[in-house]
């Protein structure tokens, strides 16, 4: 079986000539289907650049990126958009929900660009929101939801299109620790029950131990790549199966 993600000597350079900065240097990485991976490292170590390339928001300057065995390092903008739409789900630190749209409409967003008919979209969005225990908040707008609830909607949006991989950039960074715990529990559940591959960036060692593999980065290179042994793995506090999404954040 080939890996879901394979980076071979991926380098990303910003700028040109003497002013250029290498954000990633000769990076090799494999992520297998069904993995739950965390990426750690100080700011400026290249985590976000790596996530952007993995999410097909950006192309490597050099090197090869194979997604499901297909080289995506030199695709056109439209082809990359297509991959983001069908294969990748993003979760952001700041949620990035559209403020004027309801929870359901936010979750539908990727499906609109996939051309899914309206009724079908509604159904898929409701299902995704039910998975994250937000089935009772379909018509709420982001401003009416707590931080934890907004992040759940964002995760539902990432899940709605049945992606191969969810990429989360510090998904708990804007949440209090209890809500963060619930969101981590949700990622664990999505990973285990739905088999979706999850790669997330975190600064918090405890969050990292809530994943199965920790990748450490420094100055654009991989400096560590270790599995989390079962005895160190921390199962997150259950993410409120009763539908309660924790305390409103701020």
């Amino acid at each position: 079986m080939s890996p879901l993600i394979e980076l071979q000597g991926v380098t990303k350079v910003y700028g040109e000539g003497r002013l250029s900065v290498a954000a990633l240097q000769e990076l090799d990485l494999r992520v297998w289907e069904g993995e739950l991976v965390s990426i750690m490292g100080p700011s400026g170590s290249g985590k976000s650049t790596l996530m952007n390339i993995l999410g097909c928001l950006d192309r490597p300057t050099r090197g090869v990126y194979l997604l499901e065995g297909r080289d995506v390092s030199a695709l056109t903008d439209n082809e990359l958009a297509e991959i983001r739409n069908r294969k990748v789900g993003f979760v952001f630190q700041t949620f990035n929900l559209l403020p004027r749209a309801t929870a359901a409409e936010n979750v539908e967003l990727p499906l609109i660009y996939r051309g899914v008919p309206r009724a079908e979209r509604r159904r898929m969005a409701r299902e995704a929101l039910e998975i994250v225990n937000m089935g009772h908040r379909l018509t709420h707008r982001p401003a009416q939801l707590s931080g934890g609830e907004q992040q759940r909607v964002a995760i539902a949006r990432a899940l709605a299109g049945n992606p191969r991989i969810i990429l989360a950039d510090e998904p708990t960074g804007n949440l209090d620790s209890r809500t963060g715990e619930e969101i981590m529990g949700l990622f664990q559940r999505v990973n285990e029950e739905l088999g979706v591959t999850v790669v997330l960036v975190t600064h918090d060692p405890r969050r990292a131990r809530q994943t199965r593999r920790i990748i450490r980065m420094l100055d654009g290179r991989l400096v560590g790549d270790d599995p989390v042994p079962d005895e160190e793995f921390v199962r997150a506090a259950p993410g409120g199966p009763d539908g309660k999404a924790g305390e409103p954040a701020g």
């Binding site: 999410g55 439209n78 958009a81 660009y113 996939r114 299109g161």
Partner: protein
Amino acid sequence: MNPWESLRLALDGLRANRMRSFLTMLGVIIGVAAVVALVSVGTGASREVTAQVEALGSNLVMVIPASARGRDLRLEDAAAIEARVDGVLAALPNLRKKLTVRWLGRSEEVDVVGTTEDMPQVQRHPVARGRFLSHQDVLYRRQVAVLGSRTAERLFGPHDPLGREIFVAGRPFAVIGVMTTKGQGGIIVPDADDQVFIPITTAQRILGTTRVGSIYVSVAEGTDVGLVTNHIRRIFEVRFNDPDAVEVFSQEQILAAVGNVTGILTILLGSIAGISLLVGGIGIMNIMLVSVTERTREIGVRKAVGAKRRDILAQFLVESVIISLTGGLIGIGLGMLGSEAIARLGRIPSSVSVGWVLVAFGFAAAVGVFFGIYPAMKAARLDPIEALRHD
């Protein structure tokens, strides 16, 4: 993404900022309304003028003294044209002056026209009651008058003017007839119904002159008007030893000249209004650029979840086109109302032409696309990573 989704997205975007959308639209509304209203008034005026010139009588040639040459036309000239030029039915001398006309206590300033018995035939303007001037009236300089229908109304009201005595420039005249209502004139040619016709000879005596103001020549059907015009010119060239002593126009030439002037006027009005439409377009561009900047993050999110460039382009372009098309439709409605209002207030006829309405609407649509494309492209080209980082 299908077109309906683009439309829905664009409408959502416009609804989110109702006031702003409306104000932006107002620029287009005013522009289109101005184009429609002004061009309608221009077209209406030009049609009316054309109708008035046509009403002077078809196959008509006008002879007037060239303004700078100081030559006078005389009664004999009219007689000479009638006698010598082939195809001429009648040559009608005219002497026109605004004079005070009184009946009992009433006094009105009216165009008094000295003319001959040929007027009703040359200008196709028959008498309604009584009779018109006769050859004898002209020959013997009788003090008789025929009233235009409006003049009769103004002077006599409900009374019957026939047989009454009126005073023209202080001299007594017997009213012998009243003309039919022609219902034309008023803009460049005098109102045909508000005139008093008296024998040309009598008019010359009152005014103390031997000249005539102009000569209307009526040409037989099927005659080459160009030949007649040349012949008349030749007669005056010989008489004054000056090829440019008089100006001779055929009705066609007058119509062409009038058409030129009113056409230029219409285009001028339309262009001024068009400029305001252009300004409206700049308003669209301005507001769309603001909108793109404000929604940078939204664009980033949309791109992250798979929106292609053309999806973003469509979303913003459809917004600006909706603004311009809706504004265009409302503007057409207001423009039609406006042209009606101008027509009533200024008593200028207006004529809304379908062609110009389509031009204005098409121009509005083009403005929407033209001024919307740059902001929409700017949005479509945003780098998703940068856009997501935008506050």
